[in-house]
Each structure stands twice: as C-alpha cells, then as structure tokens.
C-alpha cells in the first residue's frame, strides 16, 4: 500500500511521488471517483519534454474526459503501459498500479501536502 500521506498533490487532483529527481505522477482517488470508470488513457511517450501546467494526456471515462496536466517540467522517462492496456487500474489502484507517468523533473513547484489536498476536496 502506498502511504498517501507522504505524497505531494496538486489542485488538478494529481499526486506526485518524488524519488530524487524522478517524479511519479498519477491522479487521486477523488479524481478517479469523480470521473467514473476509466476506459481510455492517453499518455505522453518516454522522451517527451513536458511543461508544468500544460495538458499532456487524457483520461477518459464512460461519462467524461479528464485532462492530465504536467505537475512538473522535465522529460518523461516512462509511461505506464499497464494502465494504457488496462485503464481500470486508475480506478482500482489510483495510488499504486494506476500511476501514469514518471518524469525527470528539472524543477519542482510548490505542491499541496496531503492535509492541504484533503481539505481542498472537503474530506
């Protein structure tokens, strides 16, 4: 189990796990629940340079389309092929197997803490 209190968060309902410069990025359980069953995920390929705050991917449910914003700038080092093949992982394990991309971050903005994020979503 991922310790969600140790993760960083954004107002776009993404979580970030930092390991040195490598940021593993996914969407929160709150976001996954709001979307409903995820049926399609489009992610930037490894090697893509992403810019913080821009849309770099899509997460589609039966009901709606969610955009993936890059929470950091840098180069994508890995996109989670398992989640592309099995989009339901975003719902079943949003903080674990449902991770989306790993980015070699060139800089880190200020993130929300777990407590701040839970306050944001009213929990």
């Amino acid at each position: 189990m991922t310790d969600t209190t140790a993760l960083h968060y954004t107002e776009e309902h993404e979580w970030i796990a930092l390991d040195g410069d490598i940021a593993t990025i996914g969407i929160t359980d709150y976001a996954a629940d709001k979307l409903g069953d995820v049926v399609f995920v489009e992610l930037p390929a490894a090697g893509t340079t992403v810019t913080e705050g821009t849309v770099v991917g899509e997460i589609e449910s039966t009901k709606s389309v969610g955009e993936l914003f890059a929470p950091v700038s840098g180069e994508v080092v890995e996109a989670n092929q398992a989640v592309v093949d099995s989009p339901e992982l975003v719902n079943s394990d949003p903080f674990g197997e449902g991770w989306l991309i790993k980015v070699n971050a060139s800089s880190l903005p200020k993130f929300l803490s777990h407590a701040e994020y839970r306050a944001l979503v009213g929990e």
């Binding site: 409903g36 589609e60 449910s61």
Partner: protein, 389 residues
C-alpha cells in the same frame, strides 16, 4: 427562461435519498435534483442490466394526471399521438410539440382508466409539460393535475427483472378476494408497454412493462413514502441478481438502445421526423393538434437528421463535437454529435449525431473532431444494440 438546472431552484432530494447515501452512491445534479450517478462502477451497473437486472431510482421524473370525460380528447389535441386509441392498461410513447413543430418534451402516456391518463415527463420539463397540458386542456372536460411530488418511480430492468419481481413478497392486486397468485398471473401476462394497478404491502403501485435501457423490464409508480420499502424488497429478493444503478449507466444503456434523450437528441429546434420519430406523430387523426400545420409542412430539405455513428478504437465522440466530411483542412462541417460514449456492451465508440441529409446514408464515412483529432466514424442504423428476443 425555463429550467436552468441548479441555478435558481435548490436541489431536490429523492424519497430514496437516504437509501442511496447508505449504499455509498455518488450523486449528480440532474434537472435540479440530486440523484445517484453511480453506486460503485458505472460499467458494472451497465453490464448488470444487460446480463441480470438493475434497479433505478427515477423519482425525479414528472407525473401529470388527466381525469375527465374528455381526457382522451384533450390529449389528442395536446400531444402528437392518438392517445384516445389506446386501451386501458396500455402505454404509448408520445411528444408534446410547440406550434412550430419543435419538441417540448418526449413522454410516456399510460391510460389508467376510461377517463384517466398519466403522462410521464422528463424531470427538466415536468413543470413546463404540466403548464402546457393545463393550457391545452382548457375547454375540455378534464382536470390536469401535476402529481410529480406524490409519485416515486423505481425501475427494475434486465433479463432477470421479471423473475425477481415475481419472487418479491408483498405484491397483490386491487379488489376483494385477490392474492399473490393473481399478481403473478397478471405479471406473467403483461405485455410490453402495458401496465396494471397492483398493491405492494397493501398500498397502490402501478406496474408497467416499460423502460429506457433496451432490456425487458418494469417501471413501478407508487407513493414516495412507500418507495424505500419497495426498493429494499426488490434488492433483498434479487440478491446478487439485482444491482442498484445510477444515471451514468442509464445514459450508456439508452444510448446503445438508440433511445433519444431530451436536451441531446430532442429539443424545441428539432421536428420529430428529423429525429426519426415521424411514426410518433399521428397525422391520420382528425384533431387539430398543436404543431400539426408545421409537421404537415415538414422541415427544410436540408434540415439535419439523426444518425448513429460507430467508430473503431476507444476514443469516444461526445456531445457537441463537430462532424466533418473529411479529415483535411478543406473538409466541410456536416453535423454535430448529440450523445456519445465508448459502448460498454459493444466495446467500440458509438454516438448519435445530427448530420446533413446528404451525409446520412448508412455506410458513409465521416470524421468527428475529437479534441483536435479527426476520428473516422461510419454512419450506422439505430439502435446499436438490440436484445435477443
């Protein structure tokens, strides 16, 4: 201005609200009501209806009752169909048209007696429909009563719906000397788009074989204070065969079944024939019904028509996406998507759309602008999904 959802009216709660909250439902604002959008998984709920049975709370829908010697004549004048021709216990899909032929709402009308009908309207249009029916029924010997606040609606839909309903204790039929056997016999004999008055734990319930999912199923109209008991009895009796379902699965189910949704496929700007509903308009009836002249004149020759679209891959076209006749910069815009989703049953994207008549022939390849990418889609006949009879 009418019915801006959620702007002026406070959110209304279903009589089943506490049941939904206890079940852990997620909610959505729908036409001013707070209704379950899903309980856990909208895909699981969708598949449950196709494979076993689903339980829906539709208490937000409007019920308007007409009673009087001229109730039938009033409806023949007010609506597009010939409602005087249906028998007691029969239901009919109909339309409330404006003078210019545009669709104010689509309705299911039940004849519940020689001199009485129940008109079921969409939640977003219920008060408009009630007002229009009152206006149009003036001069006829009938009263028009908006009973929406006094009627809850539970739908049980899917191949197991009938078996579960038969097994659920507490049902009877009205009148002296009746018992559960009579209810069973009536239910066994009930045909599609028919209804009969019954009782549940001694209180009235109208049992109708109608629905909006493309499956066999039932809709049960009863007093709001009885709704939770009935919901729980059906869920308990059905056990794993019955899954509570939210509005998200209802939308994908009706889309697969090619059924229009007001505000998407139907609106005041659309004539019935454009939406493939020409058969619903009874031009053969002698009555000067509202909208008749405009219907007889028909839409312009180039007015868009409703089609089905099927695509490959997993990226669904969604409402308001534009449709082109090619995938290059010179392509012409030929229509707009009204509803779309990745079909849970079929596994590929499906959509309904209004397109120019010369782009509407089945087999025609069109291109949907999916957030900047042109995705190929073929025009196909509706419905996308039809259950095995």
């Amino acid at each position: 201005m009418t019915n801006e959802p959620g702007t002026t009216t406070p959110e209304r709660l279903s009589p089943l609200d506490a049941v939904h909250r206890a079940a852990g439902a997620s909610f959505t604002d729908f036409a001013g009501w707070q209704m379950p959008v899903r309980y856990s998984s909208d895909l699981a709920e969708h598949h449950a209806v196709r494979n076993s049975a689903g339980l829906f709370d539709l208490s937000h829908m409007g019920e308007i009752v007409l009673i009087g010697a001229e109730a039938a004549a009033a409806l023949d004048h007010a609506l597009a169909g010939k409602l005087s021709a249906i028998e007691i216990g029969q239901a009919k899909y109909s339309l409330l048209l404006a003078d210019d032929g545009g669709i104010i709402d689509d309705l299911v009308v039940y004849r519940t007696g020689d001199d009485r009908y129940m008109v079921v309207a969409n939640a977003s249009n219920a008060s408009v429909v009630a007002d229009e029916l009152r206006t149009r029924a003036a001069g006829f010997d009938t009263i028009v009563s908006d009973e929406s606040d006094d009627v809850a609606l539970i739908a049980l839909q899917g191949p197991d719906a009938r078996a579960v309903l038969l097994e659920t204790p507490g049902f009877g039929v009205e009148g002296p000397g009746n018992d559960g056997e009579d209810f069973d016999a009536k239910l066994e004999a009930l045909k599609y788009y028919r209804a009969f008055p019954a009782t549940f734990e001694g209180e009235p319930v109208l049992v109708a074989r109608t629905g909006y999912t493309g499956e066999d199923g039932f809709e049960l109209y009863l007093a709001p204070e009885r709704a939770a008991r009935l919901w729980e009895a059906l869920a308990e009796t059905g056990g794993p065969r019955v899954t509570p379902c939210g509005l998200a699965s209802r939308d994908t189910l009706r889309l697969e079944a090619g059924m229009p949704l007001y505000g998407h496929e139907l609106s005041r700007d659309i004539l019935p024939v454009q939406a493939g509903l020409g058969r619903v308009v009874a031009l053969a009836k002698p009555d000067a019904f509202v909208g008749r002249a405009a219907i007889e004149q028909g839409p312009a020759a180039d007015a868009p028509v409703l089609v089905g679209l099927a695509a490959e891959g997993r990226r669904a076209a969604r409402a308001d996406y534009e449709i082109y006749d090619g995938d290059d910069a010179e392509a012409t815009r030929v229509g707009i998507v009204t509803s779309g989703a990745l079909s849970p049953t079929l596994g590929h994207p499906i959509a309904m759309a209004f397109v120019a008549p010369d782009a509407a022939e089945p087999g025609r390849e069109l291109f949907v602008d999916v957030r900047g990418t042109r995705v190929a889609a073929s025009v196909v006949a509706l419905p996308f999904y039809k259950r095995n009879a």
